[in-house]
Amino acid sequence: MIGYTLRRLVQAVVVLIGLTVLVFALEHMIPGNLARAILGPRASPGAIASFDRTNGLQRPVVSQYLTFLSQVVHGNLGYSYRLNQSVDSLVVHELPNDLILVGVALCLALAIAIPLGVAQALRRNRALDHVATGVSFLLYSMPSYWLGLLLIAGLAIGVHVFPPEAPQAASPAGVLADPRALVLPVITLTLVNVALFGRYMRSAAVDTLAQDYVRMARSKGLPERAVLLRHVLRNSLVPVVTLLGLSVPAVLTTGLVVEYVFNFPGLGLTYFNAAVNADYPVELGITVIVGLATVLGSLFADLAYAVLDPRVRYG
């Protein structure tokens, strides 16, 4: 297990270094030069030269990359010239809001998807199974903003049950203080993830139910409840735990769209606004964070799999 963990950690570090190279390359992909992109089209040659000197842009590319890498490692993600604020302070400020949104939605999604998947597996190819499969197929094929818009049209405009806009407070406490406004964004994100996890859960449970140890548990007279909880559920959860780690990019992508649709004060919306205002440092800084989250997610997935399923370790 230690060897496996180490190997996987080294791999993750290599990928993270690759990620910084990618982001660095993206930064230098801006046509013209960075100084003009930031200072604007009317900047004087003197101002541009001075900007280049301060930011070390006249140095060789490799040396610039190493500076960039050292900054990222030290938690310095750049500076937003439009917001006059460092990107890391933006991240620190807004990440908690995202964690609330994504955390609540993921917990709800799992709370629905796990029992639903097991129920579907138990009543395979009956009405409930077909309905749930059909609905999840539809949800899966919908762009997430379309789902959000349908919910707004139905529950905010059609019937005035929930506000169409997410909480507008900037702080996590303020976001939590307005639970009614949180409902629609959370539902949107939850439904998308239920479609994702439910299907995996169903497949895993169908697979587990066919195993010999389940027949054994039943034949030794274990009550059905115990069979389901102790044998079926526990073993079916293994692929779902893995999927949880691997779903980070999908969840972040949906998060960005949901934040845009509901104007939720999180990193996704900040990324969108930065893109609209050509605020490159913010875009790239958030890209680093998002990439880091993805790499950590897949690392978690692989390690969790090895912990839960010994066959992976020794196989």
């Binding site: 990928v15 690759g18 539809l138 066919a210 999927l243 691997l246 998002v290 993805t294 897949s298 997935a301």
Partner: protein, 323 residues
């Protein structure tokens, strides 16, 4: 949007072996596949395959819908003429009625005609992306898996790096740096979509390279390029085709999302996502015809392609098992 998860399911040992469905079949439901022992191009005899595919009712329905939508988008404008270039303020926000079966939008464009034109770019771009990404990814994966060793490790780490950033973030960034055009969108979307097929085909190549017919080619003096081009890729063709179908569906969703967020093709280009985005402004006014038709088109098209992909995979699974 689960395309990322779909791409990464290969690292889960239990994921379905052929293609990448949004719904991976774990073993138990789909008994393990008996791989083809001969190099016959993956499909075997062609006619029975088509027949077997058409027996799958959802697959046939999906294919039918795809054909209908393609006809609607590309042949529709020949029958139903509408001006999608010049705004007409006299005709803004008209409810569906005579002359405009689906009404008009805020610039006076006819919605029905706009759906057709928007669909053209969606289908063209997504098909091109699926083609380019699949070809490149398949080649990358085949070379990586077949070569093995250090080259394989380096090639796969490159895949890991690009996959680490969710596509939409990169797309938005590139759309702010460059002005989106059809070729640019195809290139950028392909750059972000070849990773799935690359991983998938690598997996296939890893198992195929130990097969007898590969040894036979080597004994006969065939070069590596011949093994990859004539044996590895043709044998993985089933997997590749199924994946390409899902790539189309993914590209349509990503493209629609991008244009919904305002980073798609600039006007006068038309896209379903941009129509939706503009229509939402009028959600409160009850102009339903500016929102629902475009959203439904995206959804129906994606469902149809997913149905086709699922059916292709099922048909292929069944055929491989019969051998």
């Amino acid at each position: 949007m689960a395309e990322i998860v779909r791409e990464t399911t290969q690292s889960m040992p239990d994921a379905g072996p052929v293609g990448q469905s949004p719904y991976p079949d774990l073993p138990g439901e789909e008994p393990g596949i008996v791989r083809a022992a001969v190099s016959d191009g993956g499909f075997g005899a062609r006619q029975p395959f088509v027949a077997a595919f058409m027996e799958n009712r959802t697959g046939a329905a999906g294919l039918g819908v795809v054909v209908v939508i393609a006809t609607f988008c590309f042949l529709g404008p020949l029958v139903y003429h509408s001006d999608q270039v010049h705004a007409n303020i006299a005709l803004t926000n008209l409810a569906p009625g005579a002359g405009h079966p689906l009404g008009t939008d805020a610039n006076g464009f006819d919605i029905l005609g706009r759906l057709m034109v928007g669909g053209q770019s969606a289908l063209e771009i997504s098909l091109a992306v699926a083609l380019v990404a699949t070809c490149f990814g398949a080649l990358w994966g085949a070379v990586s898996g077949f070569t093995g060793g250090v080259i394989d490790a380096v090639m796969m780490r490159i895949v890991d790096v690009v996959i680490a950033v969710p596509a939409i973030f990169l797309l938005i960034y590139l759309a702010t740096v460059f002005r989106p055009t059809v070729p640019l969108l195809i290139v950028v979307l392909s750059l972000l979509s070849w990773l799935g097929p690359a991983r998938l085909v690598r997996g296939e190549a890893l198992s195929l390279r130990t097969r007898e017919f590969v040894d036979a080619v080597r004994v006969a003096g065939g070069r590596n390029s011949r093994i990859v081009g004539r044996h590895i890729i043709p044998n993985a063709l089933g997997t590749i085709t199924v994946n390409a179908t899902f790539q189309v569906a993914d590209a349509i969703i990503i493209l629609a999302t991008l244009s919904f967020l305002g980073f798609g093709l600039p006007p006068p280009a038309v896209s379903w996502g941009a129509m939706l985005s503009q229509g939402t402004t009028y959600l409160l006014d009850g102009y339903w015809w500016e929102v629902y038709p475009a959203g439904l088109m995206v959804m129906v098209t994606v469902v149809a392609f997913n149905f086709v992909g699922d059916a292709l995979r099922d048909t292929l699974d069944a055929r491989l098992r019969e051998r």
